[in-house]
């Protein structure tokens, strides 16, 4: 049983991806409200790690617990429910539904989490207003990139998740906008009481986090090993 103070705990997790790629994570945990950066170069396995935690990829072995609930060894639908309730996701390209309004995009997360339908609109609107989005009924395709980022963050935290997983959230932004985006994500997580595990190859991000996890420190890849001539 995962201690309840942990937002996330991984133990002896392995993941085989094809013949030449494998991740092995001996141990990784994150306390509630803790913010950590996973740092490493492109293709080092940062995103794969986040997707394993989210249950969108299934680990070959080992245990993954989120908010005290095991993600491994459970049915896909059970993993879906845990993800909807406890995990917020922020993607590099936002992945908003362009024909849906900002309010609807945020409401989707509430719907997925099984929150009462009559509360969706009010909760989404309130959070969006708080994040500076007033035009909540406008299709997100008509919003600026910065506004879309806010909508994506709102969608990630609207269910008050235990942990937010952010996968290269600033990769497509310039330095100034990247800084503003990270301010937004961290502030939002702080206010929502959510832990944050952010994957980024940008070294400038390291100063923003109290804990920086070098992916190479506990992740081994067959590809990396093969390249160095020593198969794991």
């Amino acid at each position: 049983m995962t201690p309840m103070s942990h937002a996330l705990q991984l133990a002896n997790v392995t993941f085989d991806y094809g013949e030449d790629f494998s991740l092995t994570i001996a141990e990784l945990s994150l306390n509630k409200g803790e913010m950590a950066l996973i740092s490493g170069g492109s293709g080092s396995g940062k995103s794969t790690l986040l997707w394993l935690i989210a249950g969108l990829l299934r680990a070959t072995s080992g245990s993954i617990s989120v908010a005290g609930e095991r993600m491994d060894g459970v049915s896909e639908s059970a993993a879906d429910r845990i993800r909807a309730r406890h995990i917020g996701l922020v993607f590099q390209t936002h992945h908003l539904l362009p024909e849906f309004s900002a309010q609807d995009n945020v409401s989707l997360a509430l719907m997925a989490a099984g929150e009462p339908e009559k509360t969706h609109a009010a909760r989404a609107r309130e959070l969006l207003n708080k994040l500076g989005i007033e035009r909540v009924h406008v299709p997100v395709a008509n919003l600026s990139v910065g506004q879309q980022q806010r909508v994506a963050v709102a969608r990630a935290i609207v269910c008050k998740p235990t942990i937010v997983l952010a996968d290269e959230p600033t990769a497509s932004l310039d330095e100034m906008n990247a800084s503003q985006a990270m301010d937004l994500i961290q502030q939002a997580c702080r206010e929502a009481g959510a832990a944050l595990l952010c994957a980024s190859h940008d070294r400038a991000m390291q100063s923003r986090f109290e804990r920086v996890i070098q992916v190479d420190s506990f992740v081994s890849t067959k590809r990396a090993s093969t390249k160095s001539g020593a198969r794991a």
């Binding site: 390209t93 992945h95 609807d104 719907m111």
Partner: protein, 421 residues
Amino acid sequence: MNDISIVVKSLRSRRLSTIITAASVAVATALLLTMLSLRTASFEAFQRGTGTTHLLVSADSSPLTAVLNGVFYANAPSNPIAWKKFQDIKNAFPYDWAVPTQQGDSFRGFPVAAVGPEFFTRFEPVRGEPWKLVAGQFPSTLFEVCLGSTVAADTGLGIGQKIVLTHGTGASRDSHEHDEFPFVIVGILQPSGSAHDRVVFTDLESSWILHAQERRERAGIEGVATVADLTDDDRKITGILLRLPTRPGRDASAAIQQQFDALRRDTGIVVAQPAQQIDRLRSIIGNVDELFIALGVAVLLSSGISILLSMHNSMSERRKQIALLRALGVARMRITGMILTEATLIGFAGAIGGCALSLIGNAVASGALKARIGLVVDPTLDPRSTVIIVAGAIVLSALAGVLPAITAYRTSVADNLRPEA
């Protein structure tokens, strides 16, 4: 936000494709509904026209032709029956009534039927619904006519006005007007919902006088013909409507078939049981409208395929949407259900649109049938056919959504949301 609102938003985002696909379902549904309801209604209308006649005697070439000409006024019967033959037939059996009819003239394209007085007093154009007048009276003396409701409505003529009948249909080379004998309109009949509504009715003697006058002119006899001038050769009819006695409240009689067989022994006449001939007509035309129904089913199937193609094509651009819903925690089966709901909604919208189209089509078709052949066809939809066809369209649409739903079920979140390398 709920599953249905996602489905509706998804359909609205592909508005044109959704409308075209639903329209194809609507056209197929309407085609099937219209074919089925008009088939049923038109045969009911045909049956109405035969009224209370048990047997029809004519000198036409076949029983079916006799019914089409004698009851539905398709053409004027080409061969006459002598008056003496009518009297022999009438006296050979205690018929409930026997009505002689004669056709051949027309008025502004509408057929003219000269009939015996029992046509108005004993014959009922629709069982249980005897003739009624909107105005005036039935012809009671020479050179009076009574207009069927369609004739009155189309010509705008009223009581007291005079008309001149045309020999023949008016379209043939030997057509000419009987202008020596104007007829007075004395009555306008209530609509009967049968072919009789397109007919101008007069008495037999007036009709015979018209043709006696022609005979006299050909012979160079001067003066205007009267009843006294009629010869046996003038007194010809083209049909006899017969009804056998029945028990009160009953329409059938065991003697009908016996009398039918007895009359058929006379090779100079054709005897028809109108109800049987309508059934025969139904079986002949039935093959044609089965073809139309098969066509409707084929269109419905093709609209199902167009739903499948439309949704299948949209799946490539919707993979990200599906993957995102999955990433947010929406279960595969729930997304599969949304896709099936989407296909079903297209089918439902198409089927409802088809019902509306069919109602419009039926109204147009029934109007045309009434104007062309005087048949009053109920334009409303048959509830049973409607339920079956609407349900069929919806089920077919849902089935068309199965393949896209499977595609949605199999959509990989990782492949569709991870940034491209």
